[in-house]
Structures are given as structure tokens and as C-alpha cells.
């Protein structure tokens, strides 16, 4: 019997190695896998590259991970927020790298990784400083920039319900990056509010099929 929901929080993140690329779900606090991030802080891995839309809020969660010096590089679209002072201070001090990626490119680069594409020509950022040094091409009269996949070693995401095969459904706008990060990571760890019996999720309404999820943890 395959039971992807047999992990504790600590077990679920135990094998994340130093230097790993970790995709972290959430848009603001909606969909943020806070308990998994806390478990990762506890676990101690360092030199991480974190891919997430934002770069932490306040002093908890991602901000706490950054504050402990565990993050070598952030790949995100919107690090600057009213309460992103932890990231801001480290960035100004030159102690954390930032790759700034337009939000839609962040999404489609992870989608490309999940779908096995080698690269994609996207129109976003053409002619801007975020496309400087990148290969550009005009196709049918429109301008595009070549962007490469962002693959994660791990994804930490938050979903609403899951089952032992790893099928997931989400809650409202907390869905955001979860499904595409699940596809883009070699090992996806989902924290869910509720683990349900196999067959209880409507097969027409499963958002993330279990094939994209390796571990499910109830929190």
C-alpha cells in the first residue's frame, strides 16, 4: 500500500540538503506552507535557493529562514513589501542574492520545468532591463525573450485536502503557485488541513494529481 501521508513535519523535510533549490508556495500569506517552512528552519539546511513570489513577511516563516542566514539566493517577483524588512536589510548588506523574475515568467518557467520543456520564448520583459543579456527573437512580428525552466529539488506547498496517493485540492486564492510548484519539483511536500480517504476527492475536481506529490503532511 502506498501511503504518502505517513510523514511527520520533521520527517517530511529531513532529507533537504544544503544547497537545495526549494520552491515555496504562497502569495502573501495565502497558501504559505508556514509549518513546513518552520520545519525546514528546525532542520537546519543552508545555502538554499528559495523560489517564491515574495521574500518573507514580518519575522516569521520565510522571513525567519532568511533571517537565520540559510538562504543564499531568492528567486522571486516581489521581494519589497511593507513588512519585508528582514530581506531588505540582508539585500542592502549584500548578504543575499536576488534574481528578480516577472510573476508570469516565474509561473511559466516553473510550468516549463514541470512539463519537460527546454526553454520558452515569452513576450514578458522584452525591452526592459530584466531582459538584458538574454536571447531575444521576433516571431510573427512580436518580440520575445528566451527563458529557461526553474526546477526545484523540493517544493513546499499548502493545500486544503489531500489523500494517501497525494491528490490535492486547494482553498480559494491559496491555490496560487501550489499546483505549478508541485509539478516543477523532484520532491513535492504538501501540508494539508485534512487528509481524506482514498476516493473521497471528486476525480473531476482534483487539482493536483498525486503523481506530482511525494509527501503529504496534515497540520
Amino acid at each position: 500500500m502506498i501511503d504518502k501521508s505517513r510523514y511527520t513535519l520533521a520527517e517530511s523535510v529531513a532529507d533537504i540538503a544544503d544547497g537545495a533549490v526549494v520552491l515555496v508556495g504562497g502569495f502573501g500569506m495565502a497558501g504559505m506552507p508556514s509549518e513546513l517552512v518552520d520545519a525546514l528552519i528546525e532542520q537546519g539546511a543552508r545555502d538554499l535557493t528559495i523560489v517564491s513570489n515574495n521574500a518573507g513577511n514580518g519575522e516569521t516563516g520565510l522571513a525567519a529562514l532568511i533571517n537565520k542566514g540559510r538562504v543564499k539566493k531568492m528567486i522571486c517577483s516581489f521581494p519589497r513589501q511593507a513588512d519585508s524588512h528582514v530581506f531588505d536589510a540582508l539585500y542592502r548588506a549584500g548578504r543575499i542574492e536576488l534574481e528578480l523574475v516577472p510573476q508570469g515568467n516565474l509561473a511559466c518557467r516553473m510550468e516549463a520545468a514541470g512539463a519537460g520543456l527546454g526553454a520558452i520564448f515569452t513576450p514578458t520583459a522584452y525591452g526592459t532591463e530584466l531582459a538584458e543579456g538574454k536571447e531575444c527573437r521576433t516571431i510573427d512580428g512580436k518580440h520575445y525573450v528566451l527563458e529557461y525552466p526553474i526546477q526545484g529539488d523540493y517544493a513546499l506547498i499548502k493545500a486544503h485536502q489531500g489523500d494517501r496517493w497525494g491528490n490535492l485540492i486547494y482553498n480559494k486564492s491559496a491555490r496560487n503557485f501550489g499546483p505549478i510548484m508541485a509539478r516543477a519539483a523532484r520532491c513535492t511536500i504538501a501540508q494539508v488541513s485534512d487528509i481524506v480517504g482514498l476516493g473521497e476527492l471528486d476525480p473531476e475536481a482534483v487539482v493536483t494529481p498525486g503523481i506530482f506529490v511525494q509527501r503529504v503532511v496534515a497540520v
Binding site: 502569495f27 528578480l100 505549478i180
Partner: protein
């Protein structure tokens, strides 16, 4: 600034609410609309309640409704500006990949964005002041600029220090090139066309000459 004082004598600037109401007038029923963070978000308050308008939020909502009643807020139902919102009957949720496919794939009819600067050729600068000490943050602005069928910019005509935000060329880093179709300011409505910046409307008490004096790029009177 002297230009500003000349204009100030008689003109009546639109308030933020009046500006939002003016933009709302140009959104037809049935349009799929993305409203940028900040000032553009106000436009939603002025769409006729009896019609069907489809508000898209890049964090995975279509058919976004107004703010919830006090006490009804759901931390997992927020818009791109991270404000509490609601979902209308007929609305739905989706992930960021699908959301930006809607944007990049030309499925959004109108996007209303704020701006630091708009150039005469439609170039948009709204993500970074170029200040080397500023933490850069782009969000979905570049995707929206290139993807929506029409980009409306909505902004104050002048910066706080009185400089024109409509310029011959942007000095701030660009968000998108040649993407803006129409500019709504607290002073005027201006179309960006092949034949220049065509002024369609001005606020009461403002002459074309006064507007031109307040605007760094050349205007054409098309009122």
C-alpha cells in the same frame, strides 16, 4: 513650479474617486478586466452593479467581487494587492500558471495600471524608480503590460514635486515598450496614437495650452 501655479488658478482636478469613476465609464459590459494595485483598484467600485463585468486578479481569481463585510474576511481570499475580497456567483479559482496564461495569451481585454512615467510612444515605467538603494520588485506588471489587449494608465498628471509624468522618453526603467493605449489623469484623458498624444478630454477650467504647459511631451488637441 510656475507652470503648476498657472494651471492651479482655475482648474478643478479630479479626485481619486472621480478619476476611478471616469475610467470605469470606458469599460464595456462583458469586459475581462485586471485592475492594478493601488489607484486602479478603485475602478472596481464604479462599475455598474447591474451589469456583468469580469474582474481578474493575477493570484488566481476571475469574477472577483467587492470587499467582504467586516468580520467576513477570509485570509485565503485576497486580491493581488493582498486585500480581502469576495467571489461573485459564476466566479472561479485557478493557479498562477492559468492566471498568467489569461494575461499573456491576450485573454484580458483591459488592464488598468498605475505609472511613474508614460512616454509619447506608449512606453510604460511603473515598477522601479531606478534608485540604486531601492529594493526592486516587479510582480505581474511586465506580464500585464505585454499581455492585455488594451493597457489603460491611470495616474496623477504630475509627480508630488510637480513634474510631468507624461514624457518624451521614460527616464525610469521600462515595464513595457509601446504598450499604453490611453492615459487617464486627474487633468485629462489622452490617447496614444500613431499621430501623437491626442487629448480627448480635460477637466473644467483647464485650457489646452495650460495642459500642454504641464506636460513634458507634445500633445495634440483632439477634444
Amino acid at each position: 513650479m510656475s507652470d503648476k501655479s498657472i494651471a492651479n488658478e482655475s482648474m478643478i482636478k479630479l479626485t481619486r474617486e472621480q478619476l476611478a469613476a471616469r475610467v470605469a465609464l470606458d469599460i464595456p459590459e462583458g469586459a475581462y478586466v485586471n485592475l492594478g494595485i493601488g489607484l486602479p483598484t478603485l475602478v472596481g467600485n464604479y462599475l455598474p452593479g447591474e451589469g456583468d463585468y469580469f474582474l481578474h486578479s493575477e493570484n488566481g481569481l476571475l469574477g472577483m467581487g467587492p470587499a467582504p463585510a467586516s468580520g467576513e474576511e477570509d485570509p485565503e481570499l485576497i486580491n493581488a494587492g493582498k486585500q480581502y475580497v469576495t467571489l461573485l456567483p459564476g466566479g472561479c479559482y485557478f493557479h498562477h500558471g492559468d492566471s498568467f496564461a489569461m494575461i499573456r495569451g491576450g485573454h484580458i481585454d483591459i488592464c488598468v495600471l498605475g505609472a511613474f512615467q508614460v512616454a509619447a510612444n506608449g512606453d510604460l515605467a511603473n515598477w522601479h524608480t531606478g534608485d540604486p538603494d531601492a529594493i526592486p520588485a516587479v510582480g505581474g506588471a511586465m506580464d500585464l503590460a505585454v499581455g492585455a489587449k488594451q493597457i489603460f494608465v491611470m495616474m496623477e498628471h504630475l509627480t508630488r514635486s510637480g513634474e510631468s509624468k507624461i514624457v518624451p522618453q521614460c527616464s525610469y526603467p521600462l515595464t513595457g515598450i509601446g504598450c499604453v493605449k490611453r492615459i487617464y489623469t486627474d487633468l485629462a484623458v489622452i490617447d496614444i496614437t500613431e499621430t501623437g498624444l491626442r487629448v480627448r478630454e480635460m477637466v473644467a477650467g483647464l485650457s489646452f495650452e495650460q495642459l500642454q504647459a504641464l506636460t513634458a511631451a507634445d500633445l495634440v488637441d483632439a477634444t
